[in-house]
Symmetry: C2
Subunit: 407 residues, 2 copies
Amino acid sequence: MALVVQKFGGSSVASMERMRRVAQLVAAERERSGRVVVVVSAMGDTTDELISLAEETGPLLDDREMDALLSTGEQQSAALLAMTLHNLGVPAVSLTGWQAGIRTEAAFSRARIRRIDPERIERELDAGRVVVVAGFQGVTAGQDITTLGRGGSDTTAVALAAVLKADECDIYTDVDGVYTADPRMVKSARKLSHISYDEMLELASLGAIVLQPRSVEFAKLYGVRVQVRSSFTREAGTLVLEVGEMEQERIVTGVAYDLNVAKVALFDVPDRPGIASAIFKSLAAESINVDMIIQSANRDERNDISFTIARNDLSRAVPVVERVGRELGVSGLAFGEDVAKVSIVGAGMQSNPGVAAAMFEALASQGINIQMISTSEIRVSCVIDAASVEKAVNALHRTFKLDQPDD
Amino acid sequence: MALVVQKFGGSSVASMERMRRVAQLVAAERERSGRVVVVVSAMGDTTDELISLAEETGPLLDDREMDALLSTGEQQSAALLAMTLHNLGVPAVSLTGWQAGIRTEAAFSRARIRRIDPERIERELDAGRVVVVAGFQGVTAGQDITTLGRGGSDTTAVALAAVLKADECDIYTDVDGVYTADPRMVKSARKLSHISYDEMLELASLGAIVLQPRSVEFAKLYGVRVQVRSSFTREAGTLVLEVGEMEQERIVTGVAYDLNVAKVALFDVPDRPGIASAIFKSLAAESINVDMIIQSANRDERNDISFTIARNDLSRAVPVVERVGRELGVSGLAFGEDVAKVSIVGAGMQSNPGVAAAMFEALASQGINIQMISTSEIRVSCVIDAASVEKAVNALHRTFKLDQPDD
């Protein structure tokens, strides 16, 4: 008998009507595969509503209590789905994170799964029941409830699939798969039949989050074949797998963009060892992540240093940069919110030189100025003017022929 | 350092504004006593809202899943109260039933507490924290979540007070104490400064539920002094304690009434052994509780049998009684919803004969006909016409001088 793990996100269970639709999908999978473990997120806006209540308690938001509070959303939807299954005549049992044996480290609000004790789940499966697990949560060795961070239900599903050696791990979301570009921006964007773990990770780091990155890392580590699909259609979605399992390697798989970018520049920074580290250590101390960095040699042993951060970190970054700028005696500072990042991602880039050059040329042909560049083995990203993003993404989609089926 | 257990019901934490008021009461108690354990119910209508969602899943309502669902309400309010306390500068930690070590039998929706392992609570108290426990819930040996039935948070509080050997157990409700009669019906009703466990139990069985009966039994068994008080005033409430601890024994402590009563009569039932048991076994099989029973000898070896049940059980009782009536060959059946029960309760009755007679006389003087009578050692109840309840309760309150302070 096959074992399938299915995960349903918050929008898939946003109403009791949708919950019934999910229960039918689960029942059909049980007919087909025999053994089914379902992971659910909280219903619709439940998590946001609980956060609002918590914010009413005052400015101090204790992480431990927040986790105890938020974990109830998934516990509710798991119990309700089990009840809905009963009413379809399908034996089912709901389990919280601690009941499902999901042990995590004691890092509230962003705990990592350390270990899963699958005895209870296996016992329930052996008894012929569908096991509905509350996603996004676990328990520490000290018996405190933890959550795995936003989107953590994906990680719950993939981790369970790994431990239970599931044949399939289907992640149902409100999109029906991974696209060559954002379909709202590029009319000819195509759904990919498959994508590699590494490409998926790059897309996530670029702001196109379909799966939580940690769940993709988990899937890659344990070789879990994940399918991203929609609970609203019966069509196949996008399979995430090892690059070697793909029939044909594409040079460029997709184009991504990220508007959550801000640029910071410090002018005439003294060229002494340790200066850059002084700047970036101060930002790290405030938990502000720096993405791209450019240092350009200047006259008189002075440099200009520019870098990008997430736009929603900018208000916290400004006072830090102003302080450091004063201490270093820079000649000026600049903060820009009118920038964005466009990227191309593709596992085949590694063995195909000239891809970056083709990207720069495509942007230049549209009169788009490249302000910063960064690359990984399978990605090239450029910071450009925010107003040019749509034009840039469409040009790159055309240039790399992403509108043409390749599989 | 004294240890106080405080319990706050759903209406005391119905909004975040009220939650702050509760947090202030807790903070003040901590200033005074040092060690505080708080038990909370779910916020306002949360439980009813969750029940509505569950009912949308279909007609089958699995008790295990219902408990998993409903227990989240208390978990949420416990976490939110702990956060509110943090924001007042009071160290606090929330615990679910299973985290608080509350072990129950595996009877979903109405589990009894078997044992409490207080290690975690004691460790948190020793660390100087207020411990906020989610009421109404526990966990079975098999690691399933259970609930203790409606009002179960009272039982959680009293059981914790017993195990932790608390100096006080304050139950905050939306009434400010126990009254000699329902103040909405009797203008001169007085708040009692104290009442015995047994009197409190009788009042609960009569429909005047201020404390869940099981919590009173627990309090009596372990000698926990319980105070019923309001979270909206600073006044003392009503102390529930052993009769021997009271300064002065009252003959009659209060007058209660119950409108949730229906009368059932079977006419000309054959007078054979086992007949009554046939009727009442059939009702018990449908979980319908019978309260008072009257059997009156008739002619020709036939009897009339009348009994009362809860009015909201009547629709389920009718088909059972009709079936049994047919089988026994009775001459007729009658179902009456126009009845009510009035009762007087007082621990001093046992040593004061003539109390029942005084009650009957008081009702007769008002022209009220008594249809059925039942008594316990400390209670006399009469079934009367529902329309006469207000007149009866006021007459009894006057007759036993309950408007006059006695302590």
